[in-house]
Symmetry: C2
Subunit: 157 residues, 2 copies
């Protein structure tokens, strides 16, 4: 098995970037801070200062990123109130935002495998029934795994 060159040469992509949903997804979330904010949000972080403390994001940037995440419907701005404290906004994942979880877990697992780091990965997932480790994969409609080599591209138009 070679180290590279498995993909056949092509002079251009089958789908031009301006019609490609991957490219358009990258436009929405393909940014360092945005991705880090989503990571925290998927762990349940909701408050401005919690994001700021955890990530060290400059407050100006954080403010802007939260705003555009709300604009693109990934986060919802709501109000929370702790007793004896004034009401404050919080930023909660929408269903659209939640739907990114598999993507970020997949990226996490890529990092576990390919980014050298001492020791075991600090976080992983198991099936609560079988207790087996869980990984990301492609499956058919009925849940049967398909290997990457057996996947065929279908183009429309």
């Amino acid at each position: 098995m070679q180290d590279c060159g498995m993909v056949p040469l092509s002079r251009k992509s089958p789908v031009p970037p301006d019609r490609c949903n991957l490219a358009r997804a990258v436009d929405q979330i393909g940014d360092r801070w945005t991705l880090l904010i989503l990571r925290s949000a998927l762990y349940g972080v909701r408050r401005f200062d919690d994001f700021q403390t955890e990530l060290g994001t400059p407050r100006t940037i954080l403010s802007g990123r939260l705003k555009s995440l709300v604009d693109s419907g990934l986060l919802a701005k709501r109000t929370y109130k702790v007793e004896g404290r004034r009401a404050r906004p919080e930023y909660v994942l929408t269903t659209k935002g939640e739907a990114l979880r598999p993507v970020l877990i997949a990226l996490n697992q890529w990092g576990d495998q390919w980014l050298e780091s001492e020791g075991q990965p600090p976080i992983s997932f198991t099936d609560s029934q079988s207790r087996q480790a869980v990984r990301i994969a492609f499956v058919t409609e009925d849940g049967r795994e398909v290997s990457v080599e057996n996947m065929r591209i279908v183009l429309r138009r």
Copy 2:
């Protein structure tokens, strides 16, 4: 089913960003141009001008991004030679770079589902055997699908 708020509130992530392989992966590839370049590369694009033409990346930026993708071991710089033309460099995905394919396909499918666009998605995947549509999912070691609700987080240390 609500639109948001499914994730329980947390004041900080279980894994701090500096030890998190997801955060470290974001540091390597969490950038608009980098992601777009990888997208093209996964489709087989290899040459400077082909990237440039397809993506419209400023040449200065493209040059820098390719360099750092080579530095981080996602692309390999090789030489190709068309007869009657001088030898030129090309940028080919390494195994590490190839390993990002599931991540980008997952993101593509997220875009198909959540980014409004007219008509059918321009590209999709099927199982070459059963011809069924393929989607991303979590599976156990032996390839049985696990739903998100049945997944349990395991922390180390």
